[in-house]
Each structure stands twice: as C-alpha cells, then as structure tokens.
Amino acid sequence: MRLRPLLLPLSGIVALAVGLVTVGDLNGNLVYYLTPDEAVERRAEFPEDRRFRLAGEVGGEEVRRSEHGASFTVAGSDVEVAVVHAGVVPHLFQAGIPVVVEGAWRGEVFRSDTMLIKHDEEYYPADEADDALAGPADSGTDRAAGP
C-alpha cells in the first residue's frame, strides 16, 4: 500500500496536536476572553496592571455614553461587572448586545480602552429582531445604514 509512508508524519502531527492541547496548555492560551463570573472569581490572578479581555452582555440599565466613551455593566450568569470604557464606541453598541472589552481591573471596576462587538450567529429582519433583543433594534439599523 502506497499510503504507508504517510502513516508516520500523520501520527506525528496527531501526537503533537494532542500533546499541545493536554500538556502544553494550548487551550489556556486560546482563551480569547473571560466571562464576568470568571473575572470576579479569578480577581486575584489579575492585578491592576494585567490586561485581559472581558465579555458579556451590556446591562439594560445604567448605560451612559460620554464624550470619551461609555460606562455600563456587563452581565454574567451570576454577577455583573461595572465597566468604564474610554475609547472608541462601536456603532452597534447598545443595551442587550454582547461586547468584548479589553483592559484591567481598577478596584471593583473594569477600565477598558478597546471595545469590540461580539455579534451572535442570529440574523433576523428588524421587526423579528425587536422581539429577540430587548434594546431598540431600529436605531441600530438607522446608524448602520446611514452614510
């Protein structure tokens, strides 16, 4: 069988991949963001100079936009983390949308300077999206469709 020479390189690649994931803590390095629950639980591991990404849904109340950013809360399953964001606020930012913010703890508040919208995998026209999302979906449409 001519495929025999493939056996060694293939098994090598599989062994390397399994090894990286299990021993090399590849999965640990691949954590793109922490949930609010994890961030609170692992607060001690992240002193105020250690940056990480935090992801969660923007809380319905207490969303305040300012000239230089926004302050709001991101909700996990059990906890809410207050976020003070100084930097660019993406167009789609609104209550109820999942965001990823980059920054570090400052006391009990997460100070971020970079905000990304974590769009979900659902696509619906405006009237149906209104039901799916608590926030005002039509304002998102207007802003995105505008010049």
Partner: protein
C-alpha cells in the same frame, strides 16, 4: 483563445440572480446593510472547504492510481481554494471593521483561516520548486492530504474555543438561527458561487493539462513534439541516442 462553455453562462446567470437577491433580501435588524456582505462571505468560506476536500480526494486518487487527471484536479482545486479563502478573509475583514470595531483580531477562527491560506499557498510554492512531474505530484499529494486536517479545525474553531467570530448559523445541529428568506438568499448565493467555482476549476484543469503536455515535450526531447516533420533541437553538447 477562450471558448465559453454553457456552464460558464449558467454560472454567470446564477451569480447575477444571486446579486439581485442580495439587494432584495430583508435588512438585518441589528447590523443593517452590513449583514449583506455575509451572502458572499459564507459561500467563499464554504468553497474553500469544498476545494480542499477535493484536493484531499484527488491527492489520494493520485497516490493510488498515478493518473495525471488526479494531479490536475488537486492543483486546480488548491489554486481556486486559495482564492476563495482569501476572499473570505478580505470580506470578513471589511465586515469586521464596522460591526466588531476591528479589521483583525487574534481569535481562533481568524488565525486558523489565515493559516489555511498560508499552508495552501505553500502547497503551490512547493509545486513550483520540483521539476520532476512525478516527484512533484507525489510530494504535493502528501501535503494535500495532511493539510486537510485544518479544515475541520477551522470550522469547529468557533465551537471548541472562545472566539470573537460568531458560531455557525447554518452548518450546525438544529434549525438555522436565521430568517428563512435570508436563508434562501444565502443558499441561492452558495449555489451561484459554487457554479463559478466549477467553471474556474475546469479552466484551471485545462491549464494543468496544457502545462503537462508542454512539460512532456520539454522533458522528452526525443518524442516528436510537433509531428515527425519537426525535429527538436539537440541539447547543448548532447547526442541523440
């Protein structure tokens, strides 16, 4: 000389219909018009998967039978697949800037897709580096088989790891999380782009056949290249055996 096949015209017509459907599709409630980029982004990504799956099959076919047509299919599929991978990356980036807020981020889906692009570009570079057609096809086939391991990793990256990129909408267990009119537009565009893919692939395979014929002419100077009336020139200092 370019000859048009009927499949070319079918592909063009489908692409036109798909484009009209994109303009007529309902506007996404959250993203607005930006979401329409998805109707090209998703087909491009799907065709990258399809192309590299064809390369896998063709590479196995070559190693088992050593028929040239398998090698032509393998190289043609990689070349077209690299194009569609690049297209998916570019369209995703153009979409990501207004929706996510960044052109690029180091999440698992984006990085594995970029690696996919680079590894299959490497496949094309590897072929350029080997003169002997048989050795070239052998080595390319090994890479064509091994490199395919990336495709499931790219697809499931959004499920296995936390990413900024959203998880699958259509290729997932259960009902697609999408309005059904939008889904129909997407499927029409998948068909249209696939038809374009087929015509590009056939063109590229014709080219591979031509290249092979040219190579055989060059590598076997004793064979009558242009019929018996024409004699190939003697290699420098060589003797005809």
């Amino acid at each position: 000389m370019t000859r048009y096949r009927s499949t070319d015209l079918v592909a063009l017509a489908l692409l036109g219909a798909g484009f009209v459907a994109i303009l007529l599709a309902p506007t996404d409630g959250l993203q607005g018009v930006l979401q329409r980029l998805m109707y090209a982004h998703v087909p491009a990504a799907w065709l990258a998967y399809l192309a590299f799956a064809l390369t896998l099959i063709a590479s196995i076919g070559w190693l088992r039978t050593r028929h040239d047509r398998w090698d032509h299919l393998a190289v043609g599929a990689v070349e077209v697949g690299v194009f569609f991978t690049g297209l998916a990356l570019v369209l995703g980036s153009v979409w990501g800037k207004p929706v996510w807020g960044v052109w690029w981020t180091w999440d698992a889906r984006l990085v594995t897709t970029a690696l996919l692009f680079l590894v299959y570009s490497g496949y094309l570079a590897l072929r350029r580096g080997i003169d002997d057609p048989r050795v070239r096809a052998d080595r390319a086939a090994v890479l064509g088989i091994v490199a395919f391991v990336q495709v499931p990793i790219v697809h499931f990256s959004v499920v296995w790891w936390r990413t900024l990129h959203q998880p699958p909408t259509v290729l997932r267990p259960g009902d697609p999380t999408m309005d059904h009119t939008m889904l129909a537009v997407l499927l029409l565009n998948v068909v249209a782009y696939s038809a374009v893919f087929v015509t590009l692939l056939r063109r590229r395979m014709d080219l591979a056949r031509g290249e092979r014929a040219l190579e055989q002419g060059r590598l076997a100077p004793d064979a009558p290249v242009a019929g018996d009336a024409v004699v190939a020139p003697l290699p420098e200092g060589g003797e005809r055996g």
